[in-house]
């Protein structure tokens, strides 16, 4: 499948993957993230069950402390 991940086109061998699998494959190791799939929020407890498929727009945004 081909998806847009953080505004860049990325290809994966599988036809669909969970958000958690994509995080693992792309080494997103930060603990605090905000995930948007096709502009909808994916909550932390749903990373393992939310499926991403061909053509999807996924954003995985790092949240770091400071303010």
């Amino acid at each position: 499948m081909k998806i847009t991940l953080n505004n860049r086109v990325e290809s994966f061998d599988k036809e669909q993957m969970t958000v958690a699998q994509i995080m693992d494959a792309k080494s997103f190791r930060f603990r605090m993230l905000v995930v948007r799939l096709n502009d909808n929020i994916v909550k932390k407890d749903k990373y393992g069950e939310t499926m991403v498929k061909d053509g999807d727009d996924l954003k995985i945004i790092h949240l770091v402390s400071g303010g």
Partner: protein
């Protein structure tokens, strides 16, 4: 573009919510009041400390005051006519709808990443159509070109997305203010755009 009077007239009818009155929230609020915003709803539970003065919009004699009270005083010195709803409370999942549902735009202005995540997830799931402006990464100094925006629908985040604060990489006034100003600028842009659509 509009004249400043036209911008002020439009912004004077708008309500903006700000979650947190620290480095981001206090400065973002000041920028919005200077721009003519009509009403701000600001929530924070903390008191002004000496360590806040390196970046937050407070003054030495205000140390020990509740931030929401000190900020009210400071914002009213800029514009005595701005309507301020200040809440001394810790923002949590339960009180977010009550605090912020009447706002045209909401600003995430917390310090800790875990609070940012809680707030962003709650607002985006509770109010999917309300614009939310957040920030991530503003510690230290330099490397201005690392700062940018991530956007998804009506969710906007600015920052460098990588530098967390620590003893070695402290938050400093210039970079925190840059991010607070970017947030305020985005709020104004969103409010002006929403006005054109009506």
């Amino acid at each position: 573009m509009s004249t400043f009077n036209q911008i002020k007239t439009i912004l004077s009818n708008k309500r903006v919510g700000i979650a947190g009155a620290g480095g981001l929230g206090s400065n973002c609020a000041a920028f919005l009041v200077r721009s003519g915003i009509g009403k701000l709803i600001i929530a924070d539970f903390d008191q002004v400390s000496e360590f806040n003065l390196n970046r937050q919009f407070y003054f030495k004699h205000q140390i020990g005051m509740d931030k929401v009270e000190a900020l009210r005083d400071n914002l009213l010195m800029i514009n005595p006519d701005v309507v301020l709803q200040m809440h001394k409370t810790k923002v949590n999942k339960e009180n977010i709808p009550l605090l912020f549902q009447v706002c045209d735009v909401i600003v995430e202005a917390f310090d800790h990443a875990s609070e940012k995540q809680m707030f962003i997830e709650s607002v985006l799931s509770r109010f999917p159509d309300k614009p939310l402006v957040a920030a991530s990464g503003m510690a230290g100094y330099g490397n201005f070109s690392d700062i940018g925006w991530m956007e998804s629908g009506n969710f906007f985040v600015c920052g460098d997305f990588s530098r967390a604060i620590s003893d070695e990489v402290p938050p400093l006034a210039p970079r925190v203010n840059i991010i607070a100003a970017m947030q305020a600028d985005k709020v104004i842009e969103l409010l002006m755009q929403s006005n054109e659509k009506v």
